[in-house]
Symmetry: C2
Subunit: 229 residues, 2 copies
DNA sequence: GCAAAAGTGTTGCTTCTACACCCATGG
DNA sequence: CCATGGGTGTAGAAGCAACACTTTTGC
């Protein structure tokens, strides 16, 4: 029966990545300007074709490393796009991933090389093919994930203030959160370590920096602790 | 640049379906015995290859209709499996779906034809390839989904008692739920219509049958109502 | 009447929410 | 000293979990 595989069709298989970042202005999206036809000059997601010796996860990591210069990026596959005519040039089945990166780690040198630009998630340009739909689905998947796992820390620098963390969640859910209540809820989870350093840029009094304690999270999780936002 | 597509590799693309059902005994899984090599005689999921004129969703529906005789089945794509050696016979990229069907609607005639059998989710045989991993991931995805959307009704007959619904959730989450509290919580959502009929099989007093009101759910949802279990 | 499941009510506890209210400090 | 954000406290509401209790009816 193995020979029967020959009778089945084969397809181009690709990955497309929605790259999320976060800064003072809010949640951002890294898009690039296509340098080739079709749709040259239009904005699109970062993507690439699957190589024979790699899995889709590996392909996505490869694409992201090439574009950002970073390794071991947080990645989640959230859907596969397979409409017959989604890419007018050829039949391409594309696995869609979202990636979370610390925006400060991203090398600006690479922006020029790929014609890349950070866009606010609430205001990004029209994208080619079904990439706009991918972005919207990625946002839904991100919002869902953020309620179940502390992924926020993938988007923040190693040291951050409670204000920054709150601002991130406000940006993800497009809502306002009560500063006092947010602080109490987050700190009650005991996943943050306070550092003896303060950020004095945003207030006279200064706000302590905190650090996410990954070990404690893993320990809690293995004991049945549930992160719920 | 379009010509460059020719230089890229192509792959076999498939769908695999985890078919969930529910009866008095609990949550079940429909598996079939492979009638061809490799791995002939072993248990596997239902699957099939992608056809050129269809999307993956359509391929999954086609596979399910062939096997169950049903149309418009509830389907969710939850992951893509793409390890290089996951299928020893060929490189196959497979989109994994879970399906929810009303077990009573499933034609038993088709069981013989495909060598299919319902298995309890807590006790199913060893499966070929990475199908066991697919089942476990499907269960995680199902548990997550069941907290966000009232998918339970896809698994129950049109008319059901609160006891049946509770038993379904107990089966999905492998836990015991307080009958009184469960009833109050479910009814407080106002998504069920009580019918003037009782089930007298499971108690002397009899339990009212209820029906899920899809219209009311859609209306609530569009007004920002959140189903949360 | 007894058993057993259906269905209702109650109570105490935890959590959430909307604030009020100090604290610290640069200007 | 004042404006501003950091950080803490609190009272009322809401939700939840455990469990008592009442209803119904076949046996």
């Amino acid at each position: 029966m193995a020979i029967d595989f020959l009778y089945f069709n084969t397809y181009h298989v690709a990955v497309d990545c929605i790259i999320f970042g976060f800064d003072e202005e809010g949640l951002k999206l890294l898009l690039c300007k296509r340098s080739f036809d079709p749709e040259k000059g239009k904005w699109s997601l970062m993507g690439g074709f699957l190589n024979p010796e790699e899995s889709l996860d590996q392909a996505a990591q490869r694409v992201l490393t090439r574009i950002t210069g970073l390794k071991d990026i947080y990645l989640e596959q959230f859907d596969v796009f397979s409409d017959v005519s989604r890419d007018p040039a050829a039949r391409v089945v594309s696995a869609a991933y979202y990636a979370l990166i610390k925006i400060g780690d991203y090398s600006n040198d690479l922006i020029a090389e790929f014609g890349a630009k950070w866009w606010p998630v609430s205001q990004y340009p029209e994208l080619i093919f079904d990439h706009g739909q991918m972005v919207e689905e990625a946002l839904v998947a991100l919002r869902l994930k953020a309620k179940q796992e502390p992924i926020g820390f993938e988007l923040l620098p190693q040291f951050f203030t409670i204000r920054q963390l709150r601002s991130l969640y406000e940006s993800i859910y497009q809502t306002q959160l009560d500063p006092g209540n947010f602080r109490k809820k987050i700190l009650s989870m005991k996943l943050l370590d306070q550092l003896p350093i303060k950020d004095k840029e945003n207030s006279k009094r200064g706000a302590y920096y905190y650090e996410f304690n990954q070990q404690r999270y893993e320990r809690f999780k293995s004991q049945g602790f549930l992160f719920e936002m």
